[in-house]
Subunit: 263 residues, 2 copies
């Protein structure tokens, strides 16, 4: 199977024009098939504010009424998607800016209302990703850039967490490619000592993960991220890397970067 | 050569949800390869207004400063593109919402400043369309939906007239497909008597065109549209049809509709 990288960039890259350019240049140099996933929460919040629409977040998830869905469709699916695409073309990556509606690539289900009505928020399941369609696009020489939007197949776009989209893509495509899922965020990776960027934990397998949790080194916000990463690995993803966008270039130089999670 | 339809829908279809749904259903039934092209001027003007950005139009062309470019990228490339795509998926068309930056499909040149600085407005020339790339997408089973945006290949998106994009696509793809260019607008087609919708002129060739101009039947706003249509035909497009979106269904029923321009 051919290797495939699914790389998610966070807001710290998107919101910093220089960091974004550095990243896109490095991304272009990365050999083989690759997919980029992005959100754009801060830009969306700013646009909503400018339009007098109140942004409501619960546990970091945006309550998405119809006005907010318009905003995220414009920001994620238009502004950020198409600017990243234009920049990637400049660097020589044959990018195509997509949402889950395009090519019917990612189908979501509107989150059921329990205590909170999240509105037009989509959840993904094991059958969400159209691996065949995405593979057709990759084989035709295109590099997909996915915004954090899925659709329900009935004409409705759904705001969908970018980490979730990246993970679903990596899992869904692992039947056709040897997939590595990379989360680029603002730290070097999982740190043994949060105040010491040199204390990077380079490799974590499930046993080591249990130890790190027991020792209280991995806690709070990192827990769901790593739980989901190990879930993706259980479902066929070869490895998950969590690290700084600027360090991705080490992959091009034959090295490794960040924290690598694997079996 | 296989037939290809390049169909441009105007604001009267985009701004009317019922008309849009009727159109997208008909578009889905249209057999063979097809490409949809759209703008979204009214929605963009409204968003600009809501954001306190003044919309300046000269001869129907939008002066596009950097703020206005953001607006049209969000509206054409995001909101309208992705909603049309989601709706088309619902009807069964495997649509992908694109700009000219995606796949490097349409390269524009920033309009030179003469008496008026149009800002980030792109003009197209004979080499603007990447026919091979678009054909790869068509052959992979996708139906491209193009927003009225091109890019300069250096990372800059450019606001580009939707009629011009449709025409450039039809001409550019005429080397690979037997292309028909269809402009859907709010009238039945070219009318002999503007007050009588039944007075449709069904066929116009260059000689008839000269007669209709001499008789004053075709004048003002219709002249550049038809001049461009005949230019497209000279450059390889088999026929150009100008008609009402609701009448497109007659094509599916084996009939013709609107005014058909050909050699």
């Amino acid at each position: 199977m051919l290797p495939l990288y699914v790389i998610k960039i966070g807001g710290n890259v998107i919101d910093n024009s220089e960091a974004l350019h550095r990243f896109l240049e490095t991304f272009t140099k990365l050999k083989g098939h690759k997919i980029l996933v992005h959100g754009g929460g801060k830009v969306a919040t700013k646009l909503a504010e400018d339009l007098g629409i109140e942004s409501q977040l619960v546990d970091g998830r945006r309550i998405t009424d119809i006005e907010t869905l318009r905003v995220v469709t414009m920001v994620y699916g238009g502004l950020i998607s198409k600017n990243i695409t234009a920049q990637l073309q400049r660097y020589g990556t044959n990018a195509i800016g997509l949402t889950g509606a395009d090519g019917n690539f990612i189908k979501g289900k509107k989150r059921p209302v329990k205590t909170i009505d999240y509105g037009y928020v989509g959840d993904l399941d094991d059958n969400s990703v159209n691996a065949k369609g995405i593979s057709d696009l990759l084989n035709a020489g295109f590099t997909p850039v996915f915004a954090a939007l899925s659709h329900d197949g009935e004409g409705q776009l759904l705001n969908t967490n970018a980490d979730t989209i990246a993970s679903a893509l990596a899992v869904g495509l692992s039947s056709l490619y040897q997939t590595t899922l990379i989360y680029c965020f603002e730290k070097k990776g999982v740190l043994q000592d949060i105040d010491d960027p040199e204390s990077l934990v380079r490799d974590i397998n499930p046993e080591r993960y249990d130890e790190l949790k027991a020792a209280g080194i991995i806690h709070s916000g990192m827990l769901p991220k790593l739980d989901n990463a190990f879930k993706a690995i259980d479902m066929g993803v070869q490895a998950v890397i969590i690290g700084h966008a600027d360090d991705l270039r080490q992959t091009n130089e034959g090295g490794t970067f960040g924290t690598r999670l694997s079996k």
